[in-house]
């Protein structure tokens, strides 16, 4: 009997919540909004973090670009042979790629040219060239990311697309397939086609490439290899994946900084409410505690009731807020909020937030809200409950 959960006390607590409809509604509203905001931000952050880590991992270790007058020029494709001769270089691939501006939608696509007979610098490209022939029967084919497909569909390009070459003539490329995205950030805006088609669209010479990417057997040798390349080709700029990581991370941290601020603001609002609550109970609330004491409730009976009351209302709001955040972020892809985070992507095509379930996030939001609210309810009640009952009800 002593250990049985006291359903009457819980019923009383629920009644107490329902009796003060306006106040309870207000608390649930604010509480839900805050847990919703916090959880959404955390959900988006961990999704993007996951996304970025995956992107950064797939970056080439070394990129070699030709530089003239501080500007980036096409590089001779046969540089690859020399680079392969450097000790420690496992692989060197000349890339043909560039941005194609699609004026109808006002977005940039990344066009990547691949040669089916070469080694590919990315596993996902390897898969594509195995599956789809990029040149067949005198026709060119392309494989596009989902974002690209959507944009093209909107302009009624369902089976092919006419690229406008620099000289104003058209290059027709047929749609051969759609990407299975490895990570959303990188492949969403990508169009893969043959190197020849890509060169045609960008008006590049046959023996030229955009840049050369290297794979190094031992990551510790990157520095030595970089200085070797520099001595052989002084007219190059060499970018390592570590450099890229830093710049990616910088943009990302900057963005999460904004949100840290937002987070603090919401936390602040929350504390104002808490402060308001702890600064005193209404005279009815005090009287009620006094009455309960006068008819034989002990201090801990009162506090137990207040605990149930605040736990039920805050846990309800917490669950509601997390649930809404879940729907908002993963089902609706966080409209409005997402833009603030994904601003660094030049592409404005749709972008899927991958589902990353992070218990830490849920715990963090829980501990930032529920126990604080319970404490803020119980402490003033405890103050009143320990007064002489006679004083309170007089």
């Amino acid at each position: 009997m002593k250990n049985k959960i006291n359903l009457y006390l819980i019923e009383y607590a629920i009644n107490a919540i329902l009796r003060q409809k306006a106040k309870s509604f207000f608390i649930v509203f604010v509480f839900t909004l805050l847990t919703f905001l916090l959880t959404s931000v955390f959900f988006i952050t961990s999704s993007l973090k996951y996304e970025l880590d995956a992107t950064v991992d797939s970056l080439p270790q070394i990129i070699v670009q030709k530089i003239k007058a501080g500007r980036h020029y096409d590089i001779d494709e046969d540089v690859v042979d020399t680079l392969l001769g450097i000790e420690g270089v496992e692989d060197a691939v000349a890339r043909v790629w560039g941005y194609y501006y699609f004026a109808n939608a006002g977005v940039n696509f990344s066009v990547v040219g691949l040669n089916e007979y070469e080694k590919q610098y990315k596993n996902s490209f390897e898969k594509i060239v195995k599956k789809i022939e990029l040149e067949k029967d005198d026709k060119s084919f392309m494989v596009v990311g989902r974002g690209v497909q959507k944009v093209m569909n909107k302009s009624y390009y369902k089976e092919y697309f006419n690229f406008i070459k620099p000289d104003g003539t058209l290059k027709k490329v047929n749609l051969g397939g759609v990407f299975d995205a490895d990570t959303e950030l990188e492949s969403n805006d990508v169009i893969v086609m043959s190197k020849d088609s890509a060169r045609e669209i960008f008006d590049m010479d046959e023996d030229k490439a955009t840049d050369v990417v290297l794979k190094v057997a031992n990551p510790k040798e990157v520095r030595t290899i970089v200085s070797k390349i520099k001595s052989i080709y002084p007219d190059t700029r060499i970018i390592t994946s570590d450099d890229l990581k830093v710049s990616y991370q910088n943009i990302f941290d900057y963005k999460s900084g904004i949100f840290l601020a937002l987070f603090i603001v919401s936390l602040f609002t929350f504390f104002i409410i808490i402060y308001d609550k702890s600064s005193g109970l209404s005279s009815e609330e005090k009287r009620e505690i006094g009455i309960l004491k006068a008819i034989g409730w002990r201090v801990d009976d009162v506090l137990k009731e207040k605990f149930y009351e605040s736990f039920i209302i805050s846990f309800f709001a917490y669950t509601l807020g997390v649930g809404l955040a879940f729907v908002f972020v993963y089902m609706f892809q966080a409209p409005l909020l997402q833009n603030i985070f994904v601003g660094y992507s030049q592409l404005k095509t749709d972008f899927e937030l991958p589902f990353v379930f992070d218990f830490q996030t849920l715990f963090l939001v829980f501990f930032l809200s529920v126990p604080i609210y319970i404490g803020a309810t119980i402490i003033p009640s405890w103050k009143v409950a320990t007064l002489e009952a006679d004083e309170v009800i007089r």
Binding site: Y12, A294, G296, D301, D390
Partner: protein, 223 residues
């Protein structure tokens, strides 16, 4: 069974302002006795009731109930003492206006976590005895003054306490309802409760079933 020994109660409003509500009083009330405390407003009647119910502590002196020094009880024990021994009918009833009649009446039982059948039995007894069973599900706020008082009386009796305390029970009632309350008092007397009523309503004076009338004046008992 109730004994007040050399009780003084001083309320300190602030450092310089003190009210001597009770001034070294002595009082004994026997088991089953019905005592009416009378006296002008501010004479100290309510203060005596509070002390007997352990709702407040004397500045000096002792309150002894059934050999227990209740004036020395720590807060939690004082609560349990009230729950088990005292049925207090407050002047302003002290009901929770937004709860139903039933919920108000069973309130003293809630911390005990009793079985539903136990609660129902006790509830049936008091609602029938004090004639409020037909309003069990009504919200207290919507009841008339007389009905609210019957709810307060039912709540005071739900634990079948030995001691019933009533503070100005007829202050908010018309004469008809006041006479009705006096009948309830007679019934409680028959149930052999020890009863202390504080009032200045002349209807209580000279009643045949009242054992003693005690006059309080300026914090002292008039002999």
């Amino acid at each position: 069974m109730i004994e007040l020994k050399n009780i003084t109660k001083i309320y300190e409003i602030n450092k310089s302002d003190k009210v001597i509500a009770l001034d070294d009083i002595n009082l004994r009330i026997k088991e089953g006795e019905l005592v009416v405390l009378k006296g002008a407003s501010g004479s100290g009647k309510s203060t005596i009731l509070s002390l007997i119910a352990a709702l407040s502590k004397p500045t000096s002196g002792e309150v002894i109930v059934d050999t227990k020094k209740i004036s020395k009880l720590p807060d939690n024990f004082a609560s349990v003492y009230r729950r088990d021994n005292i049925g207090f009918i407050f002047q302003k009833y002290n009901l929770i206006p937004t709860l139903s009649v039933k919920e108000n009446i069973i309130l003293p039982l809630v911390p005990l976590n009793p079985d539903a059948s136990d609660i129902q039995n006790k509830l049936d007894i008091v609602t029938n005895r004090f004639n409020i069973s037909h309003k069990e599900n009504a919200i207290v706020r919507n009841l008339s003054g007389g009905e609210q008082q019957r709810v307060a009386i039912a709540r005071a009796n739900i634990n079948d306490p030995k001691i019933i305390i009533a503070d100005e029970p007829t202050a908010n009632l018309d004469e008809k309802l006041s006479l009705h309350f006096i009948e309830i008092l007679r019934e409680l007397k028959v149930l052999n409760k020890t009863i202390v009523v504080a009032t200045h309503d002349p209807l209580f004076f000279g009643l045949d079933f009242v054992d003693r009338e005690i006059e309080v004046h300026n914090g002292k008992i008039v002999v």
